[in-house]
Amino acid sequence: MDTRNEKKNLLANGAVQTLLASLVCIILGLFVGYIVLFIINPAGAGRAITTILKNFLYFPRPEVALEYFGSTLAKSAPLLMCTLSVLFAYKVGLFNIGASGQFTVGAGFALYFAIHYNAPWWVCILLAIFGGAVLGAAAGALKAYLNVNEVIACIMLNWISLYAVNTVLTAVKESGTTYTLPLRTNNPSAIIPHLGLQNLFANNRYVTIAIPLSVIFAILVWVLLEKTKLGYELKATGLSVNAAKYAGMKEKKNMILTMAISGGLAGLGAGFLYLSGIEQWSCAQTAVPNMGFNGIAAAFLGGLHPIGAVFSSFFIQHITSGGAYVDKMVYCSQISDLIAAIIIYFCGFVLFFKHCMNQRIRKAEEKKARSAEKKGEE
């Protein structure tokens, strides 16, 4: 009897339910992705989906695999910051679809100051945070004072910042290409230091302290949300603006602050990506970077928990990087974007999954209670 009780409690546990729901989302996402691959070309579908899931393990030699594992991690760190950005705003009742725009502005600040003013990496990082925070605060202020829907405001700001950053960074681009000048040759002091971390990953020079820093930030976000008065106030504002106002909280200030923090996190993500030197900004980009949108996927997949976000961000980046290795003769790398999108879609059903689980538990309990009653009658 006791063991049964434990089993029931395990399923009724919120964290276990979240984990199960996320796994269901992933499996459904992969399954639908497989079907799409199958429709395009039945022969290679199985191999393509395993390639996506294997990502760096695609390389048979362990040191090469390790090196690419490092690259995946180096890109997971910025994604984790975008995830935290989306998650933080969502916890406070705001849907920050503008993480991409804040990321863009962060990239603009970081790269412009790194290349044009030869600023050291920590200055660039701080400026990236500042840029993202300002853009986030703008969306927050529009929402707080003028009741503008934050989703639409954020989308508009995304496009405005994309065009603005493209224009600004054209001043520091290579003459022959559309990409910004590489940091490694132009200003090595702007590269985030690695402090020996790269030796762990077969000398992958893109592995920097950004990776452990991003995990530390995840923990900080958790502490801020769960263990501080500010976090409590912000969450209260998210649950009910009027109740928060009635309780004497400054609801407008809280909203703006939330979006500023959220934007700062996304801006920091851009700093982590571009200041590790793994990517250069293309000034001819016609769409805002996908990082912010993948952040939405990872935030929900991680059950909207900062620690869950660490794992979900890695997973999303893992399949995104894995998409680069599918057979280019038949498929394209966007298949991982498709899988990520399907996963987000199914995340919308998480509440329903949980509802089903709880109902089953309740039914089982009722059944047990009834059988116990019967036994008593006998």
Partner: protein, 313 residues
């Protein structure tokens, strides 16, 4: 000048169609942030018809392209309907997922088709140079009247009649204001909301095909529709969820969007020496300003975004 007018009208047509779609969905109580994705789906449907049936006569071409895009748009809108109406999903999240889904799926699909035809063609582009000509009716002094403009005007009139003068429209609006009250007098809220979302799929899909045939004869599906679905939502909000006001707003927004295409043709605009990117930003800046001015006293349907719960009062 004719060119500016031409582009203004084309973009206004797109914005009007898509914003009307958003209006029907929101009036029934479902926030449709997936309009952008619905546009991509509709555009894909129409483009595929043009690709695989290039030899249709003009009339048949117009009808089948419209059918293709409308069907794709409506089927795609079911993603929102099922999740938001039957499963009480977060409408913002589902809408966002749909936007990503549509662009990714269209890219994967078109690239797959292109690569199957020619392994060296890895572009996500569909061409329709000749097929496009079927949409044009008459050209007056450089201004081309096409079938979409006529259809849009008809649809605007129909939308007005349906929304305000039929029991369907009045019931639909009741479901967006107070679904429990509507249910209490025997209106099927779920059905009404399905109708609202499907109409938005119809109009959004149509808007998608009009958008990708506006001024260009090929479309790169990787680019999606560049935030146009969201511009349409801004038009809808500024239009206060009323078809006629929406039409007026769409023309104003269309003008600003058209400027980015044709500003170099105006001497006084060139003389201002403003960088071209500013004109690209212009529609987004204007819509932010417009939203900032009009959102404070916005009269959104009261129950929009809230999943219908029969047990609630």
């Amino acid at each position: 000048m004719a060119l500016l007018l031409q582009y203004t009208i084309i973009y206004a047509t797109v914005l009007l169609l898509v914003a009307l779609g958003g209006c029907f969905s929101e009036r029934s109580g479902i926030i449709n942030l997936g309009l952008e994705g619905i546009m991509v789906a509709g555009a894909l449907g129409g483009a595929l018809v043009m690709k695989y049936m290039p030899n249709l006569s003009n009339g048949a071409m117009v009808v089948s392209v419209i059918l293709g895009s409308v069907i794709f748009g409506m089927v795609f809108s079911l993603f929102l309907a099922v999740a938001a109406i039957n499963f009480n999903a977060d409408q913002t999240l589902v809408g966002t997922a749909m936007n990503m889904l549509a662009t990714a799926a269209a890219t994967v699909l078109v690239k797959g088709i292109n690569m199957a035809e020619n392994p060296n063609n890895v572009a996500s582009t569909i061409q329709y140079i000749d097929q496009k000509k079927a949409f044009s009716i008459v050209k007056i002094a450089g201004f081309e009247v096409n079938w979409f403009m006529i259809i849009t005007i008809v649809l605007l009139i129909v939308a007005n009649i349906v929304l305000y003068h039929t029991s369907l429209g009045l019931r639909l609006m009741a479901c967006g204001e107070h679904p429990q009250a509507a249910d209490s007098v025997g209106i099927n809220v779920y059905k009404m909301r399905y109708i609202g979302v499907l109409i938005s799929g119809f109009l959004g899909g149509l808007g998608g095909i009009v958008y990708i045939t506006a001024g260009v004869s090929e479309w790169k599906f990787e680019n999606g529709v560049a935030g146009f679905g969201f511009l349409a939502l801004a038009v809808m909000i500024f239009g206060q969820w009323k078809p006629n006001l929406i039409a007026l707003t769409a023309v104003i927004f269309g003008l600003f969007r058209a400027l980015s295409n044709v500003y170099s043709g105006f001497d006084f605009l060139v003389a201002l020496n403003i960088p071209g990117t500013f004109y690209k930003m212009l529609p987004y800046i204007i819509s932010l300003l417009v939203l900032a001015v009009s959102s404070k006293k916005s009269r959104a349907p009261k129950a929009e975004g809230i999943p219908y719960d029969k047990g609630q009062r």
